[in-house]
Symmetry: C2
Subunit: 492 residues, 2 copies
Amino acid sequence: MGKHLTSRGEDYSKWYNELVVKADLAENSAVRGCMVIKPYGFAIWERMQAILDKKFKETGHSNAYFPLFVPKSLFEAEEQNAEGFAKECAVVTHYRLENDPDNPGKLRVDPNAKLEEELIVRPTSEAIIWNTYKNWIQSYRDLPILLNQWANVVRWEMRTRLFLRTAEFLWQEGHTAHATEVEALEETKRMNGVYADFVEQYMAIPVIQGVKSASERFAGAVETYCIEALMQDGKALQAGTSHFLGQNFAKAFDVKFATKEGGLEHVWATSWGVSTRLMGALIMTHSDDSGLVLPPKLAPHQVVIVPIYRSDEQRDAIETAVLPIVEALRKADIRVHFDNRDTHKPGFKFNEYELKGVPLRIGIGPRDLENGTVELARRDTLSKKSVAQADLITEIQSSLIEIQEALFNRAKDFRANHTTEVDTFDAFKEVLETKGGFILAFWDGTEATETAIKDATKATIRCIPLDTKAETGTCVYSGKPANQRVLFAKAY
Amino acid sequence: MGKHLTSRGEDYSKWYNELVVKADLAENSAVRGCMVIKPYGFAIWERMQAILDKKFKETGHSNAYFPLFVPKSLFEAEEQNAEGFAKECAVVTHYRLENDPDNPGKLRVDPNAKLEEELIVRPTSEAIIWNTYKNWIQSYRDLPILLNQWANVVRWEMRTRLFLRTAEFLWQEGHTAHATEVEALEETKRMNGVYADFVEQYMAIPVIQGVKSASERFAGAVETYCIEALMQDGKALQAGTSHFLGQNFAKAFDVKFATKEGGLEHVWATSWGVSTRLMGALIMTHSDDSGLVLPPKLAPHQVVIVPIYRSDEQRDAIETAVLPIVEALRKADIRVHFDNRDTHKPGFKFNEYELKGVPLRIGIGPRDLENGTVELARRDTLSKKSVAQADLITEIQSSLIEIQEALFNRAKDFRANHTTEVDTFDAFKEVLETKGGFILAFWDGTEATETAIKDATKATIRCIPLDTKAETGTCVYSGKPANQRVLFAKAY
């Protein structure tokens, strides 16, 4: 394994791309813009899935599965939604290949197998799902419907980056149907809160909850809630969104229900999703120039044990001492990996696990055996200490908790140091050009100002924060009156 | 809920289709041949996934994810595989829609967004995976690779049926790479064995393990192992397959490795999969004219509790008695559902849970409260008895075990009664026309005979069973010498 990772200071973007590949998380595939998620990367995603899935079920949702394809006529039914995704979607036009008469051994599309109606590979599933809900909903007794699906979706992005923006990605999409506006709005906020809790408590990434400005809303939504995180290069990353869809899809697909009072009304909707993009946030928030740094709650291996020996005799003696430790750690529900491969040297293994971000590394050699100790190294601080084998389980348990907290606090401090209140447009530009990060500034609420700021600086409104102090001032760009600071940043 | 299920005797195929929809398992979607898997059906599939995933991990496999699309040039690289799937694949030719100038508000495919190379929606992933493995494998140290992915695949079938044959289906596909032929063959057999164990022990469906004849092999395989189950209408269903791919894909994608001895050899491969088709097998094996019958190990609800009351007072009294029972059952790891909906009558609920196959139903009314009893009903036998509340947990635990065993034994008896050894072609045809089921008959081993039998009877060779007695005889069709009976049946 060639370690040789470009440093963040040298080229942040190159550092990220190299890290993703070298830590065995993902790589580009033969299909433009589509990635292969490698086993180590997928193991992290699986842990994230399991935790989120449990949270969705605890909040009353069930999983289901809807088709990959959306017929064009359904796709175009909700016009805003269709317009938002039409320019980047994969279209299936044929259902058969045939032998190419001009190229023996090669295939070509069979021109006689053209579909009567083209199928869009789902970029999101509102259309196909609301066309289905139409048949499921007659009366208020059929509501609410609280469903989620784990699925792949395709958006034909022109510029792609592993995890952050790929043509195909994995995600979950919740789609709920409600009898009242109030209930749908509550659901929208509840799920945004579930995302915030998950990202902060498991991914150790602090987020700001807020509402998108009209221009940044999901296509077809009345209101988009979101969680916004800050990366180490001072750019923001939208980590999850929860949409209040109003009655837009119910109207587009004619979904009405008989109310308790005997009326007939359109159904209220929400949708909400997080994707493999979260992997990008995880990597960029915590990792350093030595490689990935994983929060213990999500690490596939929380502890790795590397034996250090010269002779077969030493090897056997170490293994005899290590196996009971492994068993004790597993009993304590700690995910431990004993790397006893004889094909690689300890130094190689140390580098490998540093690169892969394993939170704790135990080194154990002949002298440790004599002393009844091990060497315990922390990935986040790169610090080492000698620990008595008798104290090991307790020490590891407390270290894992400490690391989880330390990563969150470090990210929170970084964010605090990179969040600036500005009151003039000159200060706004200066902050962006120097330290970057989040900028809290007054905005007059118009799309014209938002666009002008974006054109001048590339910064966008990340959100109108939910949790903010009451304050009035004048718009940083137009000078017009404004009654709240909003969150600006350059963003992924 | 209209119960009114067509009976099996009346029209088996209609019974199946109605049952799948009325028991809330799945339904047809707006996309030809693609299904919607409804929450109740998906909950069963999720349980199956969780158990299989654990078994795959216990046998050393990790999950990963490979792209949905396969570029045409990769798809056609392994010629047999390409030929096998070319006639039924969805082809993406464009990556953008545009406004249709002739139809305001409608979209059309943008002719300027034609892909340079068409993308096939994966019908199976050998091609894209082996094109990736090429970069992962240099030396024997990189082997074995033991991966699985849970994914959706698309095969453009002309005649579709919910779960049994759909254009899009969900499955898992294992793809492994090995240094030796022996190791790859062992893996092929091991995973077929894992499938057999799962289907028998969790789905309560007895299966016959065997090897496919050449004509029934997976396109691109050297040998296909399979598990075959028998449905109640006397037709066979292939429930899982495990393929020894030899060096076919390694040769097509030029995947070689440096051996320990310093040579350079092509890598050996396997692939294996089960799909949502298993849901069809589950439904058809156990269910009856009253609806679905679920084995307790896979039932989303193992026990449902229905309160029977006339007044609010009675309702409250029953709820007070039931809540501690629910808690005690949950503590004993029993999946219980207390249906205290006030909007539906007990009779409606009884029908609903019968239709949905919940293994045990508890009814509890005012008289039960007085007597300290409940009424316990078994779904498989439709029998009822009164049980003292004090004995309930024990009674339920033992009933669930009994039901699981009873379903398996009933299916095994059915199979025994519908497996016939025949020695003449007249007997062969008569069995097929009367009781159907599996036929064990001598076959001369030629494709010509296999085809002739299929043309004459629609029966195919389901497999050459692994576990069979040594016997010689003469081919039931050609009269030529044969040294093993093989398993024939009409099949799904």
